[in-house]
């Protein structure tokens, strides 16, 4: 045996075809996306979680009062992806961003088609661009674009 001999290797694709049950809160959220409506959930203190959760992350209380939020908002942070991977949502350079939509008190992690890194700025206003076909998926929002 030659101890420095390289190991054989072969391409391998891990392919899981997961289907996920939603439950009442996320079911309303994803049904909303399909119908091009954005729904958050109101906490007991009146603040709005978007995307919604079934529980208050601070108090663990059940929460279920769904409220609409706007499809425009402000970028709170962003990271520029110069070379997107094939799994990632856009096939040209884009930004991952934390976006606080008007009417929401928390941010949504999504993508911004900002054109170039120089076009990105914290605080910039962005608006959702809907996918051609909406099916009930976070990718029903194709991306956000400068508003």
């Amino acid at each position: 045996m030659n101890p420095t001999e390289e190991s054989l290797s072969a391409p391998h694709v891990l392919d899981y075809t997961y289907k996920r049950s939603l439950g009442p809160i996320l079911s309303q959220f994803f049904t909303g996306l399909r119908d091009k409506k954005l729904l958050g959930v109101k906490r007991k203190d009146g603040s709005v979680l978007f995307p919604p959760k079934e529980y208050d992350p601070d108090t663990s209380e059940s929460i279920d009062e769904m409220v609409p939020v706007q499809d425009v908002g402000a970028v709170k942070s962003w990271a520029w992806v110069a070379q997107p991977r094939k799994q990632q949502p856009l096939d040209k350079p884009f930004a991952y961003a934390l976006i606080q939509l008007d009417g929401a008190d928390t941010t949504l992690l999504h993508v911004v088609d900002g054109g170039s890194e120089a076009g990105m700025k914290t605080g910039m206003r962005v608006k959702a661009r809907w996918a051609d076909e909406t099916i009930g998926s976070i990718k029903d929002i194709a991306c956000f674009e400068p508003a």
Partner: protein, 168 residues
């Protein structure tokens, strides 16, 4: 999408995961696979008790010691330890049913190999049968245990039960 479908509530979403890997076999498996490409079956000997692992994964899973000695070449014949006749098709198994999966103990090895039985009537399959490998034509050999198409019966008396009972 029709208006009727739009009335439905979304209760389930699809979230497929697809990731690309370059899987590496490692040193021991690579040596085994390179040998089988040459038509050779190699195992490795545990330095503690001398048992021959086939194929070897680089350590003795019983004693937890590395196996680093010279490989042990094995013959392509052995004893059928146990079997199952499969009559249910599966999408991922490209074999015609019914087929027979077997565990075969190669002569000189102390661990069993999972493979297929061929060239044998279903009603004649039994534990202790003596078997030999049916290889693909040499020009088709690659780094794969599938170079052996299946094991088939040898015209020999059955092996003594005691010779394979610890592998059941």
């Amino acid at each position: 999408m029709s208006d009727e479908a739009k009335d439905d509530v979304v209760k389930v979403i699809r979230t497929p995961v697809q990731l690309d890997y370059n899987y590496s076999a490692g040193r021991s498996a690579s040596r085994f696979l390179r040998s089988i490409k040459e038509g050779k079956l190699i195992g490795q000997r545990c330095p503690v008790d001398g048992r021959v692992y086939f194929p070897s994964r680089g350590s003795c899973p019983q004693h937890g010691v590395p196996i680093e000695g010279e490989p042990v070449e094995l013959v392509d014949r052995g004893t059928l330890v146990t079997f199952s006749i499969v009559r249910i098709p599966a999408e991922s198994v490209p074999l015609e049913i019914p087929f027979v999966t077997i565990q075969v103990l190669l002569d000189g090895a102390d661990t069993i190999l999972m493979h297929l039985l061929g060239n044998c009537d279903l009603e004649k399959v039994h534990m202790g049968m003596r078997l030999k490998a049916r290889w693909k034509p040499k020009e088709e050999w690659e780094e794969s245990v599938a170079n052996i198409i299946y094991f088939e019966p040898l015209d020999e008396p059955d092996a003594d039960y005691d010779s394979y009972k610890e592998h059941i």
